[in-house]
């Protein structure tokens, strides 16, 4: 028996890739034709929306029962989603695209944006993730927010988020995506700033909002450009018409969509808000800033695959951004001492993997979504566990002040460990399948990206080991009055359920319900052959993961961790602690110029024209001085501005004529 | 060009007369001053001394002045209308009647509101 076959026997080799020759979905059937529960698919987002509305309108009177309602409704959506999933699986493969037009919003003859939903394998996958993980996090929040006086409001916002996110992924056209897109942005803003009495939270919320707006402008411009080019914003019509548009147009649309995706998914260069967003309550970090909203950018890119496939420039930029962010995120995660910030860096990095996957084109879309679903489970698990750790330690976030918690918080440690297994790429857990799928595909398309991805996989294992060791192992470093205790079952049970997903999700989606075959009709698939044969590649990736774990263990579990972060560190660590200077970058590139421009305009408007009058007046001496006495108030400067404007117009018209 | 000759002549005469009378006055006029002569010339308005920072200002004079301008403009329109009355016919008559009625309305308003009472 050769060593390779031995490895094949031990390591599961399939990575969930679909069989060859995928047939794209051809037919679109309406919900009415499909029958069953399909005509009710609007309830998916309507239920949580009703929850948010009730809790907000009824107000304090719902304080006592509001959170129960808010938990019940996403669970209702989840049950409905399961029914719909079962029904969809029963449909023939080529028919799995069901649309439901709720209301047709047409005007101006040509404008046609139906309030229409679309359920296909891609969107139902997201719906399952959002409602499933969302429900668990709702339940977890009952315990986590039990002491908070504004718990009802928290649940209202959480429901609002779930509704908006479901709308985003169910939409049948870009305009409706935009509505959901803004909705999740709003919910994120509200929830990050939920503890707004903390300045840091208020600032973080504002920052997240502003940076998201930069991306949103991209989406709105893309929609407008699509409308101008194709005359429609409905997915199927746009994708059908895309091959006829010029490549330049498609590249611009693609890059604008990418700008939107980059803003929402905290990718380079709009990544800086994500770490600050950790100021929000931990369930929010788990649901919005790990499992669902931040992956909306990946959804947008994969959903628009028909556009990206036709523009090599746009898709290359996706790839480049994925590679950069993947590395940056891992780097930051290695250096941060706050548990949530480290996890946030990890999220950036993992989404970078997804972007990398999506940037590979048809060879990678399937794996990007596969990894997204896996990430949704193991990262939610990790965040909830981290929240549980904080909950049990008086909201202490600094890992340097944890240590040895494995005794006091056994269940939490188990859950965190499951998440650790899920992310770090050990067989046969989640990332072993999904991340390696991306790496395999990358090595076939772009060797450089593939090698970087392999390297970052090692960093992933390293920083996860670092977190695990600093939190649960080593000697206790808590403060005197800190009494670590396990969280109540209402928190630990959701964590454990997610742990199961983090452990066995990959196996399930490869062997039981092959995700590749499920998604490929929507995303398309092309086999790519890695430059390294499969078995050595698997072994290499396993070796890299083990090296990462070993290094991390050696550094943080076997040695004492100082309670105060050491300062005599390499420049790499310093940069990582400062989030790679993303804030400085943004400030100098976006914020300062904007501030200066606004200030300058205000100043100009208020004073300089008046000053100009004065300057001219003193310039022409006594006569000017006397003329000024005739003028009253500031109206003179306004009049001067009008006169200047008239001259300006004259000059412009005359100049334009000259050319 | 011919049509402008009378106008230019008139303008020239007016200028001559103005220069002549001002010049003559400085030479021939008696120079006896009194207080009124040192006051600012305000063409009929009472030159109320103003307290520093502003104070009450009599507006009556201006009300009358504005009434004067309204009727002045009325005359500007009435005069050519009267000259061309025949050729303007019934339409011209009705239009001017409407104009006069419209002018009367604010006049009535001002009258009723006491705008014409000096005190």
């Amino acid at each position: 028996m050769s060593i390779l076959t031995a490895a094949q026997a031990v390591l599961p080799m399939s990575d969930g890739a679909p069989a060859e020759n995928v047939e794209p979905i051809t037919a679109t059937i309406t919900a009415a034709q499909a029958g069953g529960a399909f005509p009710l698919m609007w309830l998916l987002f309507a239920l949580p929306a009703v929850g948010a509305a009730v809790l907000l309108i009824v107000g304090r009177r719902s304080d006592r029962w509001g959170y129960l309602l808010a938990c019940a409704l996403p669970i209702g959506s989840f049950i409905l989603a399961c029914i719909l999933l079962a029904q969809m699986m029963a449909l023939p493969e080529a028919d799995r695209q069901v649309t439901l037009e709720l209301w047709n919003w047409t005007f101006a003859g040509s404008f046609d944006a139906a309030f229409a939903l679309r359920l296909d394998p891609l969107s139902i996958s997201f719906v399952m993730l959002i409602t499933g993980v969302g429900s668990l996090i709702h339940i977890y929040s009952i315990g986590y927010m039990a002491e908070d006086p504004k718990r009802r409001l928290f649940f209202a916002y959480l429901n609002l988020f779930v509704a908006a996110m479901l709308l985003l992924v169910l939409a049948d056209n870009y305009l409706l995506v935009y509505v959901g897109w803004e909705g999740v942005g709003l919910a994120s803003y509200l929830l990050v700033g939920f503890w707004q009495y903390k300045d840091s939270a208020a600032v973080a919320a504002k920052k997240a909002f502003v940076m998201n707006r930069v991306g949103d402008v991209g989406l709105s411009l893309a929609i407008m450009l699509m409308f101008l080019t194709f005359g429609t914003v409905t997915f199927s019509d746009v994708f059908e018409a895309a091959p006829e548009a010029s490549e330049t147009t498609l590249t611009i649309i693609g890059l604008l969509l990418l700008l939107a995706a980059v803003g929402k998914s905290a990718q380079f260069p709009l990544q800086a808000w994500l770490l600050d967003a950790m100021e929000g309550p931990t369930p929010v970090s788990a649901l919005i800033h790990a499992a669902t909203m931040v992956t909306a950018g990946v959804y947008l890119v994969v959903r628009s695959n028909a556009i990206f496939d036709l523009s090599t420039t746009a898709i290359s930029v996706v790839l480049a951004i994925g590679v950069i962010t993947m590395t940056m995120g891992a780097w930051i995660a290695c250096a941060q001492d706050e548990i949530k910030k480290s996890l946030a860096g990890s999220t950036m990095s993992q989404i970078g993997y997804m972007f990398l996957g999506a940037g590979l084109g048809p060879a990678g879309y399937v794996f990007a979504i596969f990894h997204l679903l896996m990430h949704g489970m193991f990262k939610a698990d990790l965040f909830l566990s981290a929240g549980s750790v904080m909950h049990g330690n008086d909201d202490q976030k600094n890992m340097r002040l944890y240590g040895g918690l494995r005794v006091a918080m056994k269940v939490t440690m188990v859950a965190f460990f499951c998440g650790f297994l899920g992310i770090s790429g050990l067989p046969p857990f989640d990332s072993w399948f999904s991340k390696d799928g991306i790496i395999d595909a990358a090595l076939g398309v772009n060797v450089f990206a593939g090698l970087v991805a392999l390297g970052v996989a090692g960093m992933t294992a390293f920083y996860m080991t670092r977190m695990l060791a600093m939190t649960f192992f080593g000697s206790p470093r808590w403060a005197e009055d800190q009494h670590p205790h396990e969280s109540p079952p209402v928190m630990t049970v959701p964590m454990l359920i997610l742990s199961i997903g983090a452990l066995f999700g990959g196996l399930f989606f490869v062997y039981v319900a092959p995700i590749g075959e499920w998604l490929a009709p929507v995303t398309g698939y092309e086999e790519s052959t890695p430059v390294i044969p499969e078995i050595p590649l698997k072994l290499t990736s396993l070796a890299i993961a083990i090296i990462g774990i070993a290094l991390g263990w050696r550094k943080y579990a076997t040695k004492d961790v100082p309670r105060v972060a050491p300062t005599n560190v390499t420049i790499l660590t310093t940069a990582g602690r400062h989030e790679l200077y993303g804030n400085a970058f943004n400030e100098s590139l976006f914020m300062r110029p904007g501030q200066y421009l606004t200030r300058w305009l205000v100043w100009f408007d208020n004073r300089s024209l008046d000053g100009l009058v004065r300057g001219i007046a003193t310039g022409i001496g006594d006569l000017g001085g006397k003329l000024r006495l005739w003028e009253t108030g500031y109206a003179r400067s306004y009049a001067l501005s009008m006169l200047g404007g008239a001259l300006l117009l004259g000059v412009v018209v005359a100049t334009a004529r000259w050319f | 060009m011919n049509v402008y000759i009378p106008i230019l002549t008139l303008a020239g005469l007016a200028a001559l007369f103005a220069c002549f009378s001002v010049t003559m006055a400085t030479f021939t006029g008696p120079k006896r001053y009194n207080r009124a002569k040192y006051d600012a010339y305000e063409c009929g308005i009472e030159p109320t001394p103003q307290p520093v920072g502003g104070g009450k200002f009599p507006v009556k004079y201006y009300l009358t002045a504005m009434m004067f301008i309204i009727f002045d403009i009325e005359i500007v329109f009435l005069y050519p209308w009267a000259v061309y009355f025949d050729s303007l016919g019934l339409f011209g008559f009705l239009a001017m009647l409407l104009f006069l009625v419209n002018l009367t309305i604010p006049y009535v308003y001002e009258w009723r509101r006491g705008g014409l009472d000096w005190d």
Partner: protein, 514 residues
């Protein structure tokens, strides 16, 4: 001089002119009411007359729908755009009139000074206020202004246009100075508005004179013929266009002719501010569109560069300075400046589509503006309305319905989907892009994204910041203001959801008669 044959009685199209005649006639009657009716009954008579005139005028406008002709020997036009925008003006006027009659929000009376002639802070003023006097002259002034607007936007020659402009402006100068509270600010606003308005009128007149020198006529059709017959552009023509545009840019508050707007909006009584922001914008843009489309449309490529500069300046300056405002009325002023910038896209495109889009935009903007100012009237402290944004903190907690209504208006201004403002922006930008101004639309979209910030900032202030002290103090309005706000709200939402019917009307009215 021998008398020639009598001038024939010209054919005057009474029915077509009736809306303007009704409004101006009612205004004249109201002056007589002021003269003869006893003081105690004046207010109710004036209000009755005002509403009757506006409603009758609106009914006649509806009856006249479909008219497409020049009237009064070609000096005025009654066509689709004129009727549509006159309708918009009259609707706006009805809503504003409701705000003007509001007497419940201020314990001492309506929004206007008890006696505008009493010196601010004087004993006279105190006594007039104590006796509950009301300045009922606001009603005839208001109707004159409305009639002037209607005339302004249907004028088809430069002289009548100027007359319309002045009939519209002069009463506004007066009304601007009549605020009950903060009277010095109000009088300063009136003075500034008057001085600068007169300055801009001079530009307009000088432009008209140059155009007359070029074309030998003041009628738009005649000017258009002269322009088309021209092989070499005349300096007179270009100079005239520029000067006329300066006059119009001032009225629509385009940068750099905008500086009066924030001061005047802030100082004027709020119903008057609402009318300035809504009615004047509609009328001035209606006239501007007619002027540029009918008279100078053949030479659009000559004057368009000037519009590029002004439009870009306008929407960017409006959006960016609006961000820095801490006073709600000044902020809405900068908002109206930014909107003027967007509307300039419609003026310079010179296509039927952009005409109908501009008209729809104007309608939606005007209605939402009146609604928004209606709410501004209600936020008060001891010294009257308090327009500082700080006073709006926490409004969403204490008065959720009111805050929601204001939010909807702001969302409409920002052009968020499902509001009327979105449809307006969308159709306007789309038509402008179709007219080949794609790059300008791109800039406009960026500017509207910036503008969306300051609208959303207010939303955030209302819903997510803690009230200062005991929270905002909100007056409970009478049915009149409530009606205005509710109607404006319904129009804004319904036109956002089901715009097609009104868009169809605008589309059928997308040609100027010439």
């Amino acid at each position: 001089m021998t008398p020639s044959a009598p001038v024939a009685f010209p054919d005057i199209q009474w029915l077509q002119l009736a809306p303007i005649i009704v409004v101006l006639g009612a205004a004249a009657i109201e002056v007589l009411v002021e003269a003869f009716a006893p003081r105690t009954s004046r207010r109710s008579i004036q209000i009755g007359l005002t509403f009757a005139a506006l409603i009758v005028a609106f009914a006649i406008i509806v009856i006249n729908a479909g008219t497409f002709q020049l009237v009064v020997a070609g000096s005025a036009a009654v066509d689709g755009p004129a009727l549509f925008l006159q309708g918009a003006v009259v609707l706006t006027a009805l809503l504003v009139a409701l705000l003007m009659m509001e007497r419940k929000v201020d314990p001492s009376g309506d929004a206007f000074a008890a006696r505008a002639s009493a010196m601010p802070g004087s004993e006279d003023e105190r006594q007039f206020t104590a006796r509950g006097y009301l300045q009922t002259e606001i009603w005839p002034l208001f109707l004159f202004c409305t009639g002037g607007m209607m005339l302004f936007l249907s004028a088809n020659d430069l002289l009548l246009m100027f007359i319309g402009l002045e009939i519209m402006s002069l009463p506004l100068y007066l009304l601007a100075g009549m605020a009950r509270r903060r009277r010095l600010l109000s009088q300063e606003a009136a003075m500034k508005y008057f001085l600068l308005g007169a300055f801009s009128s001079a530009f307009f007149l000088y432009g008209a004179a140059l155009i007359y020198g070029f074309a030998g006529t003041v009628s738009f059709g005649g000017i258009a013929d002269a322009v088309v017959g021209q092989s070499q552009m005349s300096g007179l023509l270009l100079g005239g266009i520029v000067l006329l545009c300066v006059g119009m840019f001032f009225k629509v508050a385009a940068v750099p002719f905008h500086e009066w707007a924030p001061d005047v909006y802030q100082g004027s009584p709020t119903p008057v501010t609402a009318y300035m922001a809504a009615g004047v914008k509609v009328a001035a843009f209606g006239a501007f569109l007619r002027l540029m489309y009918v008279a100078f449309g053949g030479e659009a490529w000559e004057w368009r560069p000037a519009f590029w500069v002004v439009a870009i300046l306008t929407f960017f300056v409006g959006a960016m300075i609006g961000l820095a405002q801490s006073d709600i009325k000044r902020m809405l002023a900068y908002s109206s400046i930014a909107h003027a910038g967007f509307l300039l896209l419609g003026v310079m495109a010179v296509t039927p589509d952009s005409l109908s889009a501009s008209m729809f935009y104007l309608l939606t903007y005007a209605i939402a503006t009146v609604g928004a100012f209606g709410i501004v009237m209600l936020i008060r402290d001891d010294s009257g309305e308090t327009t500082s944004l700080d006073a709006w903190r926490g409004l969403g907690r204490t008065h959720p319905l009111l805050a929601t209504a204001f939010t909807i208006f702001l969302l409409s201004f920002a052009g968020i989907p499902l509001t009327a403002g979105f449809i307006g922006k969308f159709t306007l930008f789309a038509s402008s892009a179709a007219a080949g101004e794609g790059w300008l639309v791109l800039l406009a979209v960026i500017a509207s994204a910036i503008a969306a910030f300051f609208y959303l900032r207010v939303v955030v202030i209302m819903f997510f910041s803690d009230p200062v002290g005991s929270g905002p103090s909100v007056a409970t309005p009478s049915w009149a203001t409530q009606t205005t706000i509710v109607v404006a709200l319904i129009v804004t939402v319904v036109l956002g959801l089901f715009p097609q019917a009104v868009l169809n009307i605008a589309d059928h009215a997308d040609v100027f008669v010439r």
